[in-house]
Structures are given as C-alpha cells and as structure tokens.
Amino acid sequence: MRGVNEMSAVRLGKGDVAGFLEGLLADWTVVAPVMHDGIVSFRAITSGTEADLDYSNSAQSPKGVVLPQVETLLSCPCSSPEGEDVVEHTPEPGRVVLFGVRPCDARGIGFLDRVFGEGANGDNYYASRRESLLVVSLGCSHPLATCFCTTTGGGPFSTEGSDLIMAEHGDEYIVFAVTENGATFLSRHGLSKAAESAVQAVLSAAETSVAEMQPRVGLSILKGSLDGSFDAAAWNTLTEKCVGCGVCTYVCPTCHCFDIVDEVSGGSRVRNRIWDSCQFPCFTRQASGFDPRPTYRERYRQRFMHKFSFCTDRYGTPGCVGCGRCVTECPVNLDIRRIMAFFSEKRGEE
C-alpha cells in the first residue's frame, strides 16, 4: 500500500462499523454500499446498519457522487421573462464521506479529478462536490476473476484517489490514512490504534494479493499497437457483437462524457448536465445528419482507444481502472480484456 502512514493505523471492529457510521451521520452525508433488491449500489444512508461492506462490487460505479447522472446547472421560472431570474445551482453538498468503495473506484475518482478538477478548465460543479468529499476505500482481499486493476496500473490495495484505506483483518478493519485530510479525519474519531502485528499482517497480505494479480497485458505495448491500428480491419470482427447500448459507459467509473440539455420541467426552465455515451447514435451525429461514427464499430473503437490511447496521451494514465464492470454487465459479453489482449499480441505479429 503505497503512501500510507503505517504508524497511525487504527482498528475498526467489523461489528463497530454500523455504530461508527451512525456517529458520522450527525455531521456527514454518508454514501455507502447498500444491498437493495439483490443489487448493490452506493447511496446516502440514513442509518449505520444500511451499509453492507460484505460485497464484491456495486453494479454501478459510485462516480455519481462527484458527477451525478443529472445535474441542474441553471434554472429560471417559466413565468419569468426570458433571460431574467436565472439561478445558478452551484452544489452545496455539505461534508460527504464515500465509505467502503473499492480501490479501483477510488482511482476512478482520481482520474475524474484530472478531467474536471485541474487547470484552467476546472469545473465548478465538479469541484464543489469533490472538495467536500472524503474517500474511504476498502482494499480487496478477494478480487474477482473479472477484475484487472493491476493491468491498468492500479491494484487491489491501490491508494490513489483515497483519503483513507481499510484492509480486512479477521473480524476487524485496519484503517490507514493516505492523505492529510484522511489523517485529520482519523484523529477526530478516536479509534484505537491497531496492533503492530495486525498492521504488518495486512500489509504483507496486500502485497501477496497484488503479486497474485499479474498484469494481463503491458499498457505501453497496447498503446503502441493501438496507435497504428485506427483503421485495422480487425475492428470489424472484434466489435461485431456490440449492440450499441450504453451499459459499458454508464457503469464505468471513468467514463465522463456528458450532454447539456434545456428542458421545461416542474414550472421551471432548467439547464441540465446529463451523462451521455459515445456508444449512442446521437453522440456524434451532426446537424446535417452526417455521423463520423455511424456504426457500433467506430463507436466501440472510440471508447477503447479513448481509454487506452487518447487518455494516456492527455493525462498520462489510461482511462480505465480495471473494475471489470463492463465485462460482467455487457449484455453480449463483449469482453474488453479480450480486445486488450488482441491488440497487445498483434504488435508482436506485425
């Protein structure tokens, strides 16, 4: 676990989690994994017992905490003259703790920070949600067969994007501070110090678990191969089964494309920012009717190349954290790992 403060690690008994969260609810909005109708999702809890940390991963990534699927940017009453009484809806989320996310999803938020949070293009709406957010991740003692976080530069105990990281140890969690904010948070909540033996045990277990997940492909090999493969005929057959839905993009922790729509709703004219997907026919269709990405082939290629080539060029990191959601949720089992393997191997052949 890179960058954690071993000395200040504390323990949180599994049986004490509900009570701990209950205590937080007075001052914090707590977003945690909740099991509902057989589906795990991240939502704001109203009682500590709602959180269910015994989960593999949520159906949808928790990116909605910083990038809601629908977010009103501006509104004005229908009754006002045009251009008057416009209200800007800067979010005021208060203090929010995102509790028990998997390290891949925490990395996902770390990735979104690069897109929305930095430089001259920093996004106010994103920033005001992000600034008040504390990310407490939960290391993966049992990664799934669909997980490939180590392939994309992360790992089951990656600390990127987390303020705190928890690791399972018997009937307790050992909690490590990663950031200054995390350390401050810990110091305020009077949890007892973890036993040195427990700390060493989880650190070495974490190392073993990382070592067990060998990267499936080399990212730089993949990128090198992709950069010469934009027009490869192989895209035709690789993507043929794609039905063009938006599942992969909507469950993804790093996909962040959005559209801005004006709607009349509930007595107001509202300008909403909504998630959009590069897999949808309307995403690139131009006013003339021309569409530079007319079929599933170009659209799938766009998503894949965006993740493993364009993002690397722009942000120095791939736009994929290897959570495996698109692998499990794709209605036709179009497995992104197979495409990665194909292009990695292809380079050797040419």
């Binding site: 977010e71 009103t72 229908c78 009754s79 009349v264 709703s265 509930g266 007595g267 107001s268």
Partner: protein, 154 residues
C-alpha cells in the same frame, strides 16, 4: 402551456382548479365544441382544447406528455365509430387507446385522469355534459401527483 401552466405543487393555491387537456378531432368533436359555443351552452373553463386532424392522429406520447407537463386530466374525443372523416382513423385509434388505458390503469395511475369518448359535430350538448363530468371527476381526484416532470435537480 408555458407561463402559468406546468406548475409545481407549490404553485397550487387553496383555490386549485383542475387543468384538463382535451384532444379533439377536427371533423366531429371540435365541431361539437363549436356547436356548444354557438349554442351558448356552459361548460367548465378548465378544459384546454387541442385540435387534431383525427383521433387516429393521437399518439400515446401526446397523452403522457400532457401529464408530464402538469395536466390534471386528459380527454380524447373523436368521431363516432363509422363516422370518421378518414373512414377508419377512430377504429385504429380505439385499439391503441384500449392498450394505453389498460397499461396506465395497470401501473396504478388513478383511473379518472384519462378519458376517451366519441362526440359528433351535432352533439354540442353532449360535449358540454362530458366536459362537465370529466372536470368533476378530475376535481375530485385533486392535483395530479403521478407522472409529473421532475423539476430542478441538485
């Protein structure tokens, strides 16, 4: 339906009046409404008429959109069976309406919100009667709560 129409609940005062959208076919029902007017028959001012060429022109979209934008009730009226200006528009429409009505009832939308009827060009009296009874039915249900658009999202 812009300035005052799609109101949130907060806009509804104690003197709430139902807003009812009436889709009327051009040839029979709209002429029936005209006849009611010419004959100076009273019918509730809650009814907002939208003229369509034929009841066969009605898409379920129109009806769902009306509810989403805040209509408390919707009534669709066409020519009596056999009298359609386009021969069979109302017959085709009737099949669609049966399915829509059945589906909305099934998911628990209040039954008195949506009405279908036939009114001919000569039935000014019937037009006024039906509009009156529909208005009273909707009034008894109170302001629409289901299917209304979402409003501002933060």
């Amino acid at each position: 339906m812009n300035a005052q129409a799609p109101g949130g609940m907060e806009n509804r005062s104690v003197e709430w009046e139902p807003r009812i959208i009436a889709f009327l076919c051009n040839w029979c029902s709209y002429a029936g409404a005209d006849l009611a007017g010419v004959g100076r028959l009273q019918y509730p001012s809650n009814v907002r008429i939208i003229r369509v060429p034929c009841s066969g022109r009605i898409s379920p979209f129109f009806i769902l959109s009306a509810f989403q934008k805040g209509a408390d009730g919707v009534i669709v009226s066409g020519c009596h069976p056999g009298d359609c200006h386009y021969i069979s528009g109302n017959y085709s429409a009737r099949r669609k309406f049966a399915l829509l009505k059945g589906l909305l009832d099934h998911i628990g939308i209040e039954e008195g919100r949506l009405h279908f009827t036939w009114i001919s060009a000569s039935e000014g009296g019937r037009f006024a009667d039906v509009m009156g009874s529909v208005t009273e039915t909707v009034r008894a249900l109170g302001p629409v709560r289901q299917m209304v658009g979402p409003g501002v999202r933060t």
